[in-house]
């Protein structure tokens, strides 16, 4: 009787065809759409956004897209539930917005074509709220100085 064959307990292999890690050509196609949105923005016709998670992108596609778009001057980190990042690509007006949760999993991935992604701008209600908070700090400070 022959010795038992030990099959490597491999992960299920990825689908054949382009391969999940490979490129499908979706990245260059997206650039066409981004270019149209950028033209619209440049002509004063408004901003747009593309939800990358609504598209069947492979890791290869996402890497290719990041490579083509590159990084620009401004990058912001956003500490909400997790560490999220917003950066301007090498094309001003084209931003990448990447939201992560506490465990570091991506929960949102967008291309925004705009002068400034809306989430970066302080909302007027928050400004009103912080105005009251800062006024309270000043009152308390006044009280602290008077007490000395």
């Amino acid at each position: 009787m022959s010795s038992p064959v030990h099959l490597p307990l491999a992960r299920a292999s990825e689908p054949t065809g382009c391969g999940a890690g490979g490129k499908t050509g979706l990245a260059p196609a997206l650039i066409v759409e981004i270019a149209e949105c950028l033209a619209k923005l440049a002509d004063g016709k408004g901003q747009s956004a593309i939800d990358l998670r609504s598209l069947p992108m492979t890791d290869g596609d996402r890497d290719e897209l990041s490579q083509i778009l590159g990084r620009g001057e401004l990058s912001m980190s956003l500490a909400l539930s997790g560490e999220s990042e917003i950066w301007e690509t090498a094309y001003p007006g084209v931003w990448r917005v990447l939201y992560r949760n506490r465990d570091g999993d991506v929960i949102g991935d967008f291309i925004e074509i705009t002068t400034m992604p809306q989430i970066a701008v302080a909302h007027i209600d928050d400004v009103q709220h912080s105005r009251r908070r800062l006024a309270r700090w000043l009152e308390d400070e006044h009280g602290r100085r008077a007490a000395r």
Binding site: G17, S81, D126
Partner: protein, 364 residues
Amino acid sequence: MTPRGQPTVAEQMAARGMTRRVLLQFGACMASLLGLGTEAGPAMAEGLASARRQSLIWLSFQECTGCTESLTRAHSPTLEELIFDFVSLDYHHTLQAASGAAAEAARLASMKENAGKYLLIVDGSVSTRDDGVYSTIAGVTNLQMLEETARDAFAIIALGSCAAFGGLPYAHPNPTGAAPVSALIQGKPLVNVSGCPPIPTVITGVLAHVLAFGKLPELDHLGRPLAFFGETIHDRCYRRPFYDQGLFASSFDDEGARKGYCLYEVGCKGPIAYNACATQKWNGGTSFPIQSGHGCFGCSEPSFWDREGGLYGPLPSGQLGGSKAALVAAGVGLGLGAASAGLGRQRQRAAEADVARPRSDEEA
């Protein structure tokens, strides 16, 4: 402030140090999950911000608490936990602090104060045999409690396969006369969020849609939100190429199984199961049954416990459509008749019957 002088969701969150950014991020991610398009994100954020916290009454009947566990034990609860900022959970057996008479009083008070405006979630099926005596809370049958609470609700979410379709209690011989919500309440907007349990983000997504837009999302013919139940597991399964090439695991842990082949032969119900498991996955996107080597058992479909062939009997090949793979599968079924007497014979008969049956246009 809302006209009734109560703080809005945004005001309450601001008082706890949460800025509008939290809502904007939530809206963007939720709109993405719901497949609503990027303009819906800010609209959802605004809808939530200016709303008063939505009164929510959660009735738990013949259930296992798995649906509540799914929502509250979400592995990466970032989005899920926010839901509790948007709703005022006025009654929930497992989560509320009050119990006994105080809990029931809280339910009745909320119903009175929010008449016509509260959202009702039901998990578990409802006993109807012998006037429903087999499941009671505080001496009140589930049936009575459902009828009385549904009356002034503005919408009902039947959460989980038990509330949506009857679930496990409904399975043969159904000793308690279990019935789904849809069989008992008519004339109220109703969403069936099936699954045993439903995926956490599916629960949150439906709730967020209702809260932000004040209306139900688009539903399929079984009342399930199309955003999450519009495609089968099979449609989005990463093992599909193996199915298409006719490469199957014949039993658990055999060579095919170790290579990650299609699990049709070991009972996968993917082709007839509508759910988001293949894309959303479970435990914060970690895995789902097929990825872990076990076939889907179609837990989001009606009467899945009583499905012919059970969890491990392969679907009759006629249900797989007319692909080459289906015919290969039928052939495999025939060949394996010797392997396991009972199951093999059953499959063999089914496969022979299907192969013999003239192919309809639909299957072509």
